[in-house]
Amino acid sequence: MKVKVRFFARFRELLGTDIILEPPAGTTFTTLVLEVTRKNREGHDAIFDETGAFREFVILMRNGKRVESADAGSLGVADGDEIAVFPPVAGG
């Protein structure tokens, strides 16, 4: 399956964006984001805390719908999904 990962703002600067991955079946939202940040210490640390959990302020979306951090560890990703990870918004 193919999944697209989008980062925005500071996360985009650190990690790039529109990253196409082909994760194995059973991959969760959290393991997908861990995998895509694995080789980028600064990017990883911007998003995850020292226990490997999403930082409190990080916002997660799957196909444009909000995903709670608490649910991301058990939420499997599916072919064609668009995963978004971004810092607090600041428009207007």
Binding site: F57, G64, P88, G91, G92
Partner: protein
């Protein structure tokens, strides 16, 4: 009704004319501009599809709560200079209180929940602007 994320600037005068719907007694415009906080320029980015969908939800909720007759929300992205329009909100209503309340509801909700980010570019580099509500975003409008 225009709800859009775009690079181009906006003709506010034309939007005001278009907001003068049957029954309208007042038009309120909010124009958020790049403030000269010792910056050279501002760079804006959006999660566009989600931002537009969220703005549409906010507009529907503002209409319901404040009896608005017309709403435009145009938020710009890209690189803007000091004084340029960032966001233009035009609403009309039968009475002025509804127009003011509706306009303010829209910009307050926009700042809370619409996935847009701003980076202030300075002589020494840049800094991402923290949002009004550091705790989150993308929360659905109460409805």
């Amino acid at each position: 009704m225009v709800i859009r994320i775009q690079k181009e600037d906006v003709d506010i005068g034309a939007l005001i004319e278009a907001a003068k719907k049957q029954g309208a007694g007042g038009v309120v415009v909010f124009d958020g501009i790049v403030r000269d906080d010792d910056i050279t320029e501002m760079e804006l980015e959006a999660y566009e599809d989600v931002a537009v969908a969220e703005l549409e939800k906010i507009a529907a909720e503002a209409t319901r709560l404040h009896n608005l007759l017309h709403i435009d929300i145009i938020h710009r992205i890209g690189r803007l200079r000091v004084g340029e329009n960032i966001v233009v909100i035009v609403v009309s209503a039968s009475h002025r209180h509804a127009a003011y309340d509706g306009s303010r509801f829209i910009i307050d909700e926009l700042k809370k929940s619409v996935p847009i980010w701003k980076k202030e570019l300075t002589k020494d580099g840049g800094r991402w602007v923290p949002g009004d509500h550091g705790h989150g975003a993308g929360q659905p409008v109460r409805q």
